[in-house]
């Protein structure tokens, strides 16, 4: 076991689907002796590659959900976080990007930089992840690593530097020439486990000399010492490695390696590159939010002796209970420790502490800052922060936006219903922005989330992972209602139908309240409404907020002030005052000129610059307000605010507009009044629905 944090690497392997990242991971695990046989991704041998732990992934040969696995290489310990290649899996991507410190960007020597690689690379840019590139599939017909490298420069805006040249290509690809040591490397044995270092074949020597000079030229920009050594003819390997490392960590240089994971060529050198050029946790800045100081950002130390701060970044349900993947950012953790969940404030005990190797595990007794481990049987949500209780830090904001879109689910039979309930329980734990509830009126299960795609992903996972083939309704935007002016009420609820009567009068006013959802102000004097009935009045008003009178959506931003009323010594009751408040609300609501509010989304579209006009036009056509456009030579990022109701189907529109080269993200921004034409349409739809409900 290696304890030195400087010899720790937390890396991701990111790439376009089918560029071979799962095969690469499998080979890495084989060479680092974590597995003892290799399998194909698509599971022809019925086993499947090690990192594909989900059925769907096994079937498609792609990786959707991130899993972490551990291995050791030449005295370094490496945690590999398998990052999703799909843009749609935002939560998974965000969490995986957050916990990794560096990455191997896998490119296909035939396909080069494809649109998915662009997306994945942009995500890594966003999270400031240094990377090394691996041009895979050099054994395939049409392989051209030089073209892939040019595309890395042109399409991804990298400063790539070739660290190797291929020995042969396509079906003659047999090894690589290392431009640092100026040696040929061959990979022998049944699975390439035997690395043979030989002299460079004579026909490649001149090319190797030229490429080494190009490499030294590029790399010396990051080291005066190396530059001097080049002039003096005293270049040493260590000097080159230091300069490449400096350039890589500053993300101004991308060292490029070549190989074929499938043919077992070039994998060990990329492992060397991970240890040589990618950062240790001490070289990456990590911060948390201090909940005692209004979520002020605080720097974490990566010191194992400091108080513990760790993030639960992934949950998995196993036959033995919930498995929680944890990245330790500061401090250390050992079996038997007490931890505090920063969100729930609940104390938990570390029972079993394990290091994960895809879906197998190894029990360990302790782990320190920078490490990635897993806990067994801990009840928590994904994204939760754990501390030792001495700090009140959180690694993710405790602010969770309200869902803006919902969808009804109808399972066809009881079996599907049972598995749907299991799936929903799991998903809501994984993702706080995904919610589910049963509608009181219709009895239907409603799921809510942050966008159309967000819900689609979970429905697909429900089918695949839980076998729940649910029918879905039409997505509904979470509209809201709000009043726009002050209006008074004075309502008496009086009922005498034999036996005890009901009596209560409430008077006061309602007014817009921008600071929050609801406020109740009691200004009743002289006991005209006895104190014991005031909570019932409040309750009555609150019950009205659940369903506005315009289109039946919740009401936001209302302050109710009650300043007068009346009671009856015999007939007044909680029930009577609840009814009086409901009557008062109905009386004043229409006078308060209610309006319909719709969720406005902050949409960000990244596209190659030539599509700027088309993208702007498409956003504008959706009642979008273009806020800005930022170019960085190749790509343009357009920011706009658009009503959610207009965003349905935008992914398809954008794909066809930009030949699949653009991606967009959106997040809730605010609620805003709908235009009159939309308001009228919504009111008509609501009336029709209500009428339909009655017949």
């Amino acid at each position: 076991m290696v304890d030195d944090i400087k010899r720790l690497r937390n890396i991701g392997i990111s790439a376009h689907i089918d560029s071979g990242k799962t095969t690469l991971t499998e080979r890495i695990l084989y060479y680092t002796k974590r597995i003892f046989a290799v399998h194909e991704v698509k599971g022809k041998d019925g086993v499947g590659a090690k990192m594909d732990s989900m059925e769907l992934e096994k079937e498609r040969g792609i990786t959707i959900s991130s899993a972490a696995t551990y291995c050791e290489w030449k005295g370094y310990k490496i945690n590999i976080i398998d990052t999703p290649g799909h843009v749609d899996f935002t939560i998974e991507v965000e969490r995986a990007m957050r916990v990794l410190d560096g990455s191997i960007l896998v490119l296909c020597a035939v396909g080069g930089v494809q649109s998915q690689s662009i997306t994945v690379d942009r995500q890594m840019n966003r999270y400031k992840v240094p990377r090394v590139a691996f041009i895979n599939k050099c054994d395939r017909a049409g392989a051209n690593p030089y073209r892939a490298m040019d595309q890395l420069r042109i399409r991804l805006n990298h400063n790539p530097v070739l660290m190797q040249i291929p020995i042969g290509l396509e079906d003659t690809f047999s090894g690589v020439v290392d431009l640092v040591s100026m040696k040929a490397i061959y990979f022998k044995g049944p699975f390439g486990e035997e690395v043979r270092i030989e002299e460079i074949p004579s026909h490649l020597l001149n090319e190797a000399i030229v490429k080494r000079e190009e490499m030294l030229d590029a790399v010396s920009m990051f080291s005066d010492e190396l530059m001097e050594a080049i002039f003096e003819g005293t270049v040493e390997d260590a000097l080159i490695h230091r300069a490449v490392r400096k350039g890589t960590l500053s993300r101004q240089l991308t060292p490029v390696f070549i190989g074929s994971a499938y043919k077992n060529i070039g994998v060990q050198p990329i492992l060397d590159a991970v240890t040589l050029y990618l950062p240790s946790p001490t070289e990456v800045e990590s911060s948390a939010l201090d909940m005692d100081h209004d979520e002020k950002e605080v720097r974490l130390s990566s010191n194992p002796d400091d108080p513990l701060v760790a993030l639960a970044f992934k949950l998995e349900v196993t036959p033995f209970g919930q498995l929680t993947y944890l990245r330790i950012y500061q401090g250390s953790l050992k079996k038997g420790d007490d931890l505090i969940n920063a969100r729930t404030k609940k104390r938990i005990k570390v029972g079993r502490l394990v290091r994960m190797h895809a879906d197998e595990m190894e029990d360990i007794s302790s782990a320190g800052a920078g490490d990635i481990v897993a806990l067994f049987g801990v009840e928590c949500f994904s994204g939760d922060t754990f501390t030792d209780g001495t700090l009140h830090y959180t690694l993710t904001s405790i602010f969770v936006p309200e869902p803006v879109i919902s969808l009804a689910l109808s399972p066809p039979d009881n079996k599907s219903k049972t598995s749907m309930i299991r799936a929903l329980s799991r998903f809501t734990k994984e993702d706080p922005t995904f919610r589910s509830h049963v509608d009181e009126e219709s009895g239907q299960t409603i799921i809510s989330g942050m966008g159309e795609l967000h819900l689609e992903i979970y429905i697909e996972r429900m089918r695949r992972e839980f076998g729940s083939d649910v029918a879905t309704g039409i997505p509904e935007v979470a509209y809201r209602e709000a009043i726009s002016r002050r209006a008074a009420f004075n309502y008496t609820h009086k009922k005498q139908t034999g036996g005890a009567g009901q009596y209560g009068r409430v008077a006061g006013f309602m007014e817009p309240f921008e600071e929050g959802v609801y406020e109740f102000v009691n200004q009743v004097k002289g006991g005209v409404i006895p104190t014991e009935f005031i909570p019932a009045v409040d309750k009555g008003f609150q019950s009205c907020l659940k369903k506005g009178l315009l289109i039946g959506f919740p009401v936001l931003g209302v302050r109710i002030t009650v300043n007068d009323g009346q009671h009856h010594v015999v007939d007044s009751s909680d029930r009577a005052f609840i009814q009086a408040a409901i009557g008062a609300f109905k009386q004043a609501y229409v006078k308060a000129k209610p309006v319909i509010l719709e969720p406005i989304m902050r949409v960000s579209v990244e596209c190659p610059s030539e599509f700027q006009g088309n993208v702007m036009s498409s956003l504008n056509q959706r009642r979008g307000l273009i806020m800005s456009s930022a170019e960085d030579r190749i790509f343009t990022t357009i920011e706009a605010e658009i009503p959610l109701a207009e965003m349905f189907g935008y992914a398809t529109t954008l794909r066809s507009l930009t030949q699949g080269k653009a991606e967009f993200t959106m997040e809730f921004s605010r609620y805003s009044k709908v235009p009159e034409s939309v308001e009228d349409e919504l009111k008509v739809r609501y009336k029709e629905k209500a009428k339909g409900g009655r017949t």
Binding site: G613, L619, M627, S628, S629, E631
Partner: protein, 231 residues
Amino acid sequence: MKNFFEVSPLKLLERSSHKGLGKGNLGVLMAGAGLGKTSCLIHIAFHRLIHQEKLVHVSLKDSPEKVTSYYNVIFNGLVEALDIEKEHEVRDLVDKNRIILAYLKESFDLTRLRRNLHNLVREIEFIPHTLIVDGIDFTETKRDIFEGFKRAAEEFQVEVWFSALSPKDIDEVNERGIPFPCDTLDDLFSIIIQLSSSQAGVFLTLIKDHDREPLPGATVRLDPNTFLAIE
């Protein structure tokens, strides 16, 4: 709400011969480092936006988020200073009439700008009245770029405002009294304003007024905190 136009630093232009810069023309605000060029430039922007005129803010160094945060800071100051009641409405007005075009990683060139302006006009019918250009290094930028801006100003019928850093250690002034680095470019600019600070306060002074000599006293004193005109 108090009258913005009475406290806007651009009231200085009321003392100019054309009462403003005018479409198709270039204007520049010169100042030393840290004096508040960007703040003043954003005040010029607000002057236009509150007139409900469309404006494009072109940034050559800052991201849209940073530019927006500059606007927010200035706007919050205006809300306080002018006692703006319907803050949301004014903010919506600003958002509706302003688009930020940022050119990061030295990606700016005039062809891109013209293409982007064409896109705004053709694709979303956003026809700007004013361009605010922040972040151009006047000492490094060649004359033909400014000539290109002048042609773009005429083509798109916009007025274009720049900010220029006056280096502390260079006192060169041309025969028309225009200091470095605008001394060799003043024929391209219709209005040149200098932002200066002394013990007496922060001042905006008109040093070029179209084809005429600026009137004596074409100076406005600014509040050093809000950059609003005091007198």
